[in-house]
């Protein structure tokens, strides 16, 4: 059934990557190249750029990434169960109910601590 999957993916990926790579090279070769100091400076709405862009940014982004990591791993645990949910029946449902309750405790804790608040 799926014995050709990996060959096919390899063929398809070769086409896609080849197309993307060739187009970028082609556009770099064909396009004009008239460089000037102003053209190569970062765009900041027309005024002189102020300082470097390698600056600190809100820690909120980091907290969201942390939350994502935790809950995404928990979601991944639910996938194998979802496939066999019908076969496991009531037993599987109670097991997963306990798991979801544990996840919910962590979720409510993060909520109360303000991990999902912006500002």
């Amino acid at each position: 059934m799926g014995e050709y999957s990996f060959i096919n993916i390899a063929i398809y990926a070769t086409i896609v990557i080849g197309f993307a790579g060739l187009t970028v090279v082609l556009s770099a070769l064909v396009g004009p190249s008239v460089k000037s100091k102003e053209k190569l400076s970062p765009y900041e709405c027309g005024v002189e750029p102020v300082g470097n862009a390698r600056i600190s940014f809100p820690v909120r982004y980091y907290v969201i990434a942390l939350m994502f990591l935790v809950f995404d791993v928990e979601v991944v645990f639910m996938y194998p169960w979802a496939i066999v949910a019908r076969a496991l029946g009531a037993f599987g449902m109670y097991e997963m109910g306990i798991f979801i309750c544990i996840v919910l405790v962590g979720f409510v804790y993060a909520w109360k601590k303000g991990a999902f608040e912006w500002d």
């Binding site: 970028v24 556009s27 949910a85």
Partner: protein
Amino acid sequence: MVDHVTVLIYALMCVVVFAVLLTTVAFLTLAERRISAFMQDRLGPNRVGPWGLLQPVADGIKFIMKEDIVPREANRLLYIVAPLMTIVPALLTFAVVPFGHDLFLPGRVINFQIANFNVGILYIFAIAAMGIFGIIIGGWASNNKYSLLGGLRSASQFISYEIAMSLAVIGVLMVYGSLRLNNIAQYQGSLWFGFLPKWGILVQPLGFIIFIVSVYAETNRVPFDLPEAEAELVGGYHTEYSSMKFAFFFMGEYANMITASALLATLYFGGWQVPYLHNIGFIFPGMGMLAMPQWLVAIIEVLSFAVKVGFFLFLFLWVRWTLPRFRFDQLTDLGWKVLIPLALLNVVITAVLIVLRVL
């Protein structure tokens, strides 16, 4: 044992799928501009070819001919790699989407799908998630404050809605019991109460709503297009990009929209299924049947899939001119405080209904 003719047939299919995908992306840009124009009571691009149909070709040539600028303080390698890291995963995800019944040729069975993976839907999530690297690397490598913020916003938005989306799909997987998209589409042809096709929208209405909202956020479309909010970020992560590299970010977004529409159709609207159409023709419950040759059935199925995908693509454009943009705190609130609890509830309800043998 690998059969060379089969490999050749699949290679041909790869080329056709790739060509159709790129053509759809090209004409989707035109459709977006034309439909937006009609919704705002103006004409849109209509000069290049009849009804402006050659506009995508003109745009493509223009993109290639433009100057390729790498800003002075940018990280050169990452700056060049980033657009490739966006377009390649966006085009690769389509590989597992089925667009028809298996075709029975003498001596071999051909799937109407590039790769019939046993992990189908996980492949889509895994590859699609790689696209976010391109956006965040592009934003950082440009060494522009607006691009950096755009890339960060994009990443945090993507991961906020990823969980709700994966949880919504769990409901579908429980009902159909398979990760293979082809099987999921096939099982939706079975009948409920003897006459109702068992489409995902009927068995998972709540899951569908969660999934479609998450998908709009994942593809950075209005009302969740904050990463590229023109008014506040002058374009977002692709501010510094020009020429074909800019086009790749743009095409990546449209390719993602196509895959998202194909997923919506496959998971919730029967994929290539037409109600009562089987491998041998239409079988109406209690009303006899209408026999059809295999090639005719295949054509009808591919057309049905195309119509469903086309409808969802139109819905993307329609929503764009209907809803205003979210604020960033509203966006995280909706993702974490509304959609994830709702999606968990959906999983629990589905589990109970399956144990009670309703679904």
